[in-house]
Amino acid sequence: MADIAISARHVSKEYVIAGINHDTLRDRIAYTCRSLLGRQTERGVVPRAFQALNDVSFDVMEGEVLGVIGHNGAGKSTLLKILSRITEPTGGEVDLYGRVTSLLEVGTGFHAELTGRENVYLNAAMLGMRKVDIDKRFDAIVEFSGTQQFIDTPVKRYSSGMYVRLAFSVAAHLDPEILIVDEVLSVGDGAFQKKCLGKMDEVRRDGRTVILVSHDLPVVASLCQRAILLRQGQVVGDGQPQQIIEQYMSEAFTDSGISLADRTDRYTKGELMVQAIAFLDEKLNPVQPVVSGQHLVIRVHYQCHVRKVFKDMRVMIVVNRDERAACIFSTDLVSRTPLDLEGSGYVDFHVPHLPLCGGRYFLHAAIENNTLTQDWVQYAAELQVLDGDYYGTGRMYPHDGWRGKGMFVDHSWRFERTS
């Protein structure tokens, strides 16, 4: 059995919200005087406590790669900051066994006036590396970043790509036993990203312990062996990454429990909004779950909140699976007829043979024209699809391994013998 690398016990973090602003001494003195006189402040500023993390416990084994996911405000960053010792917990304890490096960003402490070489030393020292170790790795760092020619040029003259490559390169050569990473993977251009992911994979294969906090679910799914899900400062899921990701995505909107029309987590002008989304069959009866190959109608209700005709709009539905777009339905794609919206009403998208295979999908909805987005709601609806006989042959996918992957595409075949 492997040893424990990280052990977190009942970790809590409480913030006092009202007291946390940059008070001025004047405010503070005035407040103190008033409270000495036994008077309440006129503004009624009562310090409120906010529990960013509440009794979080977990263990990470040596060599394990743990992903931490959760919505914004679920406590991911707070947990990260506590594990990195940037801030202290207000309760509980964490033990870390091994040399720890945490990367909340790349290039922390880079100074524009200093040369690449100087910044490598400074940055590495900040991340806890000794000078002798930096000396040993310096060439490897520079080579990995591909900035050999410019290493003695001040980084203010670097392109942003070079800057990020050099910064990541330092981080990649830290060689810790425990690595705590915030979404720093999403840096640089495609080729460099690939290099970074390769480096992450190398770290994993070397048996390092890694905690990865990320929104990038496919990365979590592919790199991590285990994931935990945070919600409102508590661990609500702990297990296989795929399973935890499913849980996370279903929470994406069962959690909200409010109707689409009332949702505030949307990008909107407030004038024209998506009110509701309904799934109907060909007789326009509500249906859920749906079956691959069936006739599906996606009805998008809209409502104008101002007396105005919105000319030449498009209504769009993005169907997502595993955080990736599977397909898009859009009024302007299939028809050149201008769509003018006013008052309230709905748009029906008819899909004669639903090409989605079995699984759980999430729909994002948008109403926009070419210049302006009127309303954009992510996770506006969930669609459950059951595997069905799409081709009408009585056959589904031939192998279990294919189930739940890809899409059904109409096709035919013809056989001809040539010799």
């Binding site: 001025t24 001494l25 940037i86 304890e93 964490v94 870390l96 091994g98 006036e113 020292a125």
Partner: protein
Amino acid sequence: MTMNELEAPRASRLPAGTLTPAARTPTVKIRPSRGLFHLDLQSVWLYRELLVFLVWRDTKVRYKQAVIGAGWAVFQPLISMLLFTLLFSYLAKLPSDGMPYPLFAYAGLLPWNFIAQATSRSGTSLVGESHLISKVYFPRLIIPLAAASAPAVDLLCALMMMIPLMLWFGVTPGWQILFFPIFLVIALLAALAVSLWFSALHVKFRDVGHIIPFFVQFWMFASPVVYPVSLIPERWRTLYSLNPAVGVVEGFRWSLLGQRAPSLETILPSVGIVLILFVSGVVYFKRMERTFADVI
């Protein structure tokens, strides 16, 4: 050399599974800190290299793209010296304890410029480095410590100028020069004593950033930089010596110029205050440190 070659010996040093968790001591323990005197100063020592890097960075950045570079460290006190000689010696006829006034002023300006620079740079250092505080862990004391130490480089440059000045005025240092390093340390402590308080307060109260320039200006005239301590009436002298800079400035003059020894009544209260402020500053800083990242 590839990364893997470097990592190989390290990985074999601690084979997995040889120790049970109970028998191992954690490398890092994270606990809510309690108590005033949990100072954890050994972690500052562990990060001493970073301290050196930061001092070096500050110095380097300061004199980059400046034509005469570190020459400014010498020019500034030299110009002040000329100005003070004109104003306070020729015009105001201030005494200088029998020393040539320019030399008297320069020997006072050396420690004073250092204290003023160190205080104003270190006092605002935490907020200036807020991006570091919210993104990476290292003992926070390193930041004001580095900011207060960086002007020491200027001080050493300016000290070089002391040699031609002393030759010019025909003053030779005596055995007192041996005490100079001690006063150098006290100067650093005095600057830190004040700026630890300032920098920790500055995180929460941005007013401090506006107060410091005034404070430094006022402080200079409350210190024996342009005038000798002998100008202060006897009965006020003990009170006057509660100023942390008094002991330092007097000590510098005495050890460099070998003028009459400063009385213990001026040195002791001053050094005592420095120590009290410094220790309480460290305690206060460590106490506030817990919430720096949340508040900054």
